[in-house]
Symmetry: C2
Subunit: 206 residues, 2 copies
DNA sequence: TGTGTACATGAATGGCCGTTCTCCTGAGCC
DNA sequence: GGCTCAGGAGAACGGCCATTCATGTACACA
């Protein structure tokens, strides 16, 4: 049951070909990097003409910004829902947040890689906006860590950087995970949830 | 005592300007990415002429390969020495390995970023070589984890991916650490060594 | 003194890139 | 029918890029 067809990141936007173009751009930027991929590549991938791209996005850089906004939004949505559905104690909340994050990384490996590697190519204004959105997601994790530290369930002497460490490990999954490898999506999420709790010196199941 | 002048990654190679060129290339690739940086940028950074670069390296791609070989070599050397100088038990060995790795990331942030983000732009042969070198460094960590698991000191039920998780967290430091921030190099290394031991569910000091 | 070799340079060359321009089509609406 | 407007296409333009070429200097060494 491992062979899910790779769900596109962007589904529907109201404009006829926008989603197709965004997904093609994601693929192109993921394969060759922002500077390595040309607008011609994106057009080819989207099955449209080079000039038509400019009917949707005013520049290559704004196209990247749009792709990253969709990726970030989807991640933020998944993590937020997971935390909302979890219990009130920090360990369960952290567990569900990590599981959701790992799920996103596995479902959208390319988007994760592009989001971490290509942000720097945005113009300053877009970069600032995107970084602040990313920081908001990170803050979700930091608040949970703070809560657990305050409650005394996370005993690490270094709670300040723990969220960053956890998120770094999770994001790195995107650079080695293979869908046809030995680990299922669920097993991987389970493992990393435990890694996170252990790193925080929190309560471990079993 | 935090303001160390950034030691260049490459020090001396026997050819007159090779080190200068390699360090300039590292800087250029780090700032703009492999495809975003031009050979003209590298030449300017090295204070030499565009065409002279080709007296040292046959192509831009081989130049990147040389940069990455130096970065990887330095990391591997530091980790190997640290492990050699450590005790024989897995926890001390892991602790020293992590401390050395964090030290490298802090001392050579740009090299770490380039090494993780730009490997994919090498031609296949160089990429294969570089990846196998990187895997060798990773294997050092994996062996320590295996040793600790066999000895019963690392109790994590998932020792198989733990090294990857730790290395992912450590590499991510390069994308947020600031020399003038609140954490010294040594404190950071200490923190991450503890994170690593905790993640493995190993013995914790104090 | 002559010869090879390492290092260095400025000027091409051919190609691709982002972007723009001009034009075309078809659907919705008066 | 006539108008608008979103969506679409091909051809061009100016610019930058990796690489090569022709040429020059200076030093080692026979």
């Amino acid at each position: 049951m491992n062979g899910r067809s790779p769900e596109p990141l962007v589904r529907n936007t109201g404009r006829r070909n926008e989603a197709t173009i965004l997904n093609a751009a994601l693929q192109a930027f993921g394969t060759s990097g922002f500077n390595g991929a040309s607008m011609r590549d994106v057009a080819k991938g989207a099955g449209t003409s080079l000039s038509n791209l400019y009917n949707y996005f005013p520049s290559k850089s704004k196209l990247l910004a749009a792709v990253l906004r969709h990726a970030n939004g989807e991640l933020q949505r998944r993590v937020a829902h997971a935390v909302d559905d979890a219990g009130n104690d920090a360990p369960s909340r952290l567990r569900e947040a990590v599981r959701a994050h790992v799920g996103f990384v596995v479902d959208h490996q390319v988007a994760t890689l592009v989001a971490t590697n290509e942000v720097r190519y945005l113009d300053p204004a877009d970069r600032t906006e995107l970084v602040s959105h990313r920081d908001a997601t990170q803050a979700t994790f930091e608040h949970i860590v703070d809560q657990g530290a305050a409650d005394g369930v996370f005993c690490t002497p270094y709670p300040g950087d723990a969220a960053r460490a956890i998120l770094g490990a999770v994001a790195a999954i995107a650079s080695w995970y293979r869908q046809d490898g030995p680990l299922s999506r669920g097993q991987l999420a389970e493992q990393y949830a435990r890694y996170a709790l252990a790193l925080l010196e929190g309560p471990l199941p079993r």
